[in-house]
Amino acid sequence: MNLRRTFAMAYKEALQIWRDPRSLAIALLMPLMQLVLLGYGVSLDIKHVPLCVFDQENSQQSRAVVDRFVSSDWFSISHTINRQSGIGYALDRGDCIAALVIPADFSRRLSTVGAAPVQAVFDATDVNTTNVALGYAQGAVAQANAQIAAQWAASQGVLPSLVGQVDLEPSTWFNETLESRNFIIPGVVAVILSLVGAELTSLTISREWERGTMEQLISTPVTPLEVMLGKLTPYFAIGFFDAGFCLVSAVYWFRVPFRGNIGTLLATTALFIVVVLGIGYLISARIRSQLGASQIALLVTMLPATLLSGFTFPLDQMPALVRAISLAVYARYYVTILRSVFLKGSGLYDLWAPLLGLSIYAVAVIWLAARALHKRLD
C-alpha cells in the first residue's frame, strides 16, 4: 500500500463529493430529515391516548377501574359508548386508539370468583403507539388490582400492610421515567447512520463505472486496497460528522440522558461507521449501476436496521428464528451499545458481546471490500 496514491484517491473523492449536490444532500440533509421524521415520529412520548369506554355495569367498582386509566395522563376518555357495536365504529373513525370494555357482571364476579376480566381493544395501525398504550393499560389494571386487594384486605379487617402492598408499578430500570424516547432515540441514530453511510458509499464505485473513469483508473498501478482506503476516508469523516450531529441532538434536543463515557461512545461509533461504509462500498463494487447500487443499499440497510435491530420491536419478544437472523444485522449491536452507553453508562468492558459482534463484522466487511474491486473489465 502506498500512502501517496491513497491520499491522491482520498483528495479526488473529497472534491467530487464536495461538487456533487446529491452526495452533499445525503451527507448533510438526510441525517437531519431522518432525525426529525424518525425521532419525532416514533419517539415523542405518548400521553392522553384517546380511549372509548363501554362500561356495561357502571358500578362504583367499575368506575374505579376507569379512574385508574384516566388518573394518570396516559389516557383521556374521548367517548363513552353504550353499545358493543359502538367500539368498532369509534376505532374505525379514529375517535379513539383504545377501547375499554367492562362486563355487566364485573363487581359480582369480583366478589364471588375473586377475579373479573376487563377487555381492552387497540387500534394496531400504529404498532408503536399501540405497544406503548398496551403497556399503559397493563399498568392501569395493575394499579386497579392493588387498590382492590387493599380494599378487600380492609374489609376483612386485615391491615393492608399485612396483605402486602402489591406493587405492580412497571419496573423499568435505566429508563425510570418510562420515556420511550430514551430507548428509541439511540436506535434512531443507528438507523440513520446505517442508511446514510451505505447510501453515500454505494455510489462511489458505480459512479466511476458509469462515467467511464473506472477503465482509466484500473489501467494504472493503483491497488484495490488503496482505492478502498482512499475512497472511504472522506466518507468516514462525513460519517463521523453525521454521528456527532445525531448524538448531540439525542442529548440536547431529545434530552436522552447520557451517563456513559465520551471515549467509549466515539470508539464504538467509529467501528460502526467502518462497518456501514464498508457494506456500501461492497455493494458499489459489485453492482456497476448507480441506481441499482443505491437501491440495494437501501434494501440491505434500511429494512433490517429498522425491523431487526431492536430499534422499534424488542428483539427478545421475537420468534427464535427471527432472533437468529437478527444476529446478522450489524445495526443491532450498535443499538445495544448506544442504549447501554447512554442509559447505563456502560464501559467497553461491559459491552464486550456487542463489540465482538461489531468487530467481527468490521473485519469481515473490510477484508471483503479491500478485495472487491477487480481491475478487469471482464
Binding site: A8, Y11, K12, E215, S219, K375, R376
Partner: protein
C-alpha cells in the same frame, strides 16, 4: 525490458465474448520507439485488443507481452510501464484541469521534484494555459483529448496505448494531436494508436489493418501502398454510384469496384474491359459516367480492397 526485445508482442491473441470472436488469433510485434497504427472499421476489435494488451481483459487464447511482461499473468507490472487513453473520454469531468493532473500524478507517484514541471508541460501541451482551474467537462473535444494524453504521459511511460484519440475531434485538432504523438515518439516512446480514419494511417511507422478480429495486412505505409492491387486503378465520376458498383463487380476484367468519396474507384486487370470502355459500359446499364482517369492508389484503396477481399474469401468458405 531487455534491449532489442519488442515493446509489444502478441501471438495468437484471441478474445471471445461467449460464442462471438472479437479478436481472432492476432499476431503483433511493435518495436521500441515505433508508432504503430491500428486501423479498422467499427467493431474490428481494436479496442478489445488494446484492452487485452493493457491487462484489462483476459485473453481467451494466445499470449501477449508488453515491456517484457505477460499481460495476463503480470498485469500490474504491465500497468507500471504503460499509459492508456481509453476510447471513451475518461478524465474526471467534475474536477478541474489541474486537479485531474494532480490526481493522476499522485496515482502514478510522479517524483515530487519534477511534478510541477511535468504538470506545466502537460498543460502547455494541451494548450490549456490560463484554464488550469476550468472544470474538465466544460472543455471542447480537442482540449479534452490533449489533456487526457497529458495525464497518460505524466509518469513518462515507455509505452502508450491510445484508443481512437482523435475520434470526434475537428481536423485542425487532429493534426495537432498527431504532432504531439510524433514528438513523443522522438523521445523513444512506443505508441500504439488506433483509428478508423484511413488518412491517419500515413502518420504511422507501421500499420496493422484489422477487420472482424483478424489481422488483414501489416507493414509500413509505403510497403502497403506498393502492394499490387492486381491491376491499374482508375477513378470515374458516375451516378448512381451504388448501381455502378453492382454492375461492375464481376464484369470481365474488373478486379475491384468501390465507392471512394463521391467517385468510383475501379481496378482493371488485363483482358476484358479497358479504361476507355468504362463510360460506355456503364451507359449501357443506364448509368451516367464521365471519363475514367488513372490514379495512384492511396492506402485507403489498399484497405478497401483488402477488406472486401477478406469478405469474399469468407463468404466463399
Amino acid at each position: 525490458m531487455s534491449a532489442g526485445a519488442p515493446a509489444v508482442l502478441a501471438q495468437g491473441l484471441t478474445k471471445r465474448f461467449n460464442s462471438f470472436t472479437a479478436v481472432d488469433h492476432l499476431d503483433l510485434g511493435i518495436e521500441k520507439g515505433e508508432i504503430a497504427g491500428f486501423i479498422g472499421p467499427n467493431g474490428a476489435g481494436k479496442s478489445t485488443t488494446i484492452r487485452m494488451l493493457c491487462g484489462l481483459l483476459h485473453p481467451s487464447e494466445g499470449r501477449a507481452s508488453v515491456a517484457g511482461f505477460d499481460v495476463d499473468r503480470q498485469p500490474e507490472a504491465v500497468r507500471e510501464h504503460i499509459g492508456y487513453m481509453s476510447q471513451k473520454f475518461s478524465l474526471y469531468g467534475d474536477l478541474t484541469v489541474r486537479e485531474n493532473l494532480l490526481f493522476f500524478g499522485g496515482i502514478y507517484r510522479v517524483p515530487r521534484q519534477s511534478f510541477e514541471e511535468r504538470m506545466r508541460f502537460a498543460i502547455s501541451m494541451a494548450g490549456l494555459e490560463g484554464r488550469e482551474n476550468a472544470l474538465v467537462r466544460t472543455l471542447a473535444g480537442g482540449w479534452k483529448q490533449r489533456l487526457a494524453l497529458g495525464c497518460a504521459i505524466l509518469h513518462r511511460p515507455p509505452i502508450l496505448f491510445l484508443d481512437e484519440p482523435t475520434s470526434g475531434v475537428e481536423p485542425e485538432a487532429r493534426r495537432r494531436f498527431w504532432d504531439l504523438i510524433h514528438e513523443l515518439a522522438a523521445q523513444e516512446v512506443t505508441i500504439l494508436v488506433s483509428t478508423h480514419y484511413m488518412d491517419e494511417a500515413e502518420y504511422c511507422n507501421r500499420i496493422s489493418l484489422i477487420d472482424r478480429g483478424r489481422l488483414i495486412a501489416s507493414g509500413t505505409p509505403s510497403e502497403l501502398r506498393a502492394r499490387r492491387l492486381g491491376g491499374d486503378l482508375f477513378e470515374i465520376s458516375c451516378a448512381p454510384l451504388g448501381a455502378a458498383v453492382k454492375v461492375l463487380t464481376g464484369a470481365p476484367g474488373v478486379v475491384e469496384a468501390a465507392i471512394f468519396g463521391d467517385k468510383l474507384h475501379v481496378v482493371l486487370g488485363s483482358g476484358g474491359l479497358g479504361a476507355a470502355d468504362l463510360p460506355g459500359f456503364l451507359g449501357r446499364h443506364g448509368i451516367q459516367a464521365g471519363p475514367a482517369r488513372r490514379v495512384t492508389p492511396s492506402l485507403e484503396d489498399v484497405f478497401v480492397q483488402l477488406v472486401s477481399g477478406g469478405q469474399k474469401q469468407r463468404s466463399a468458405t
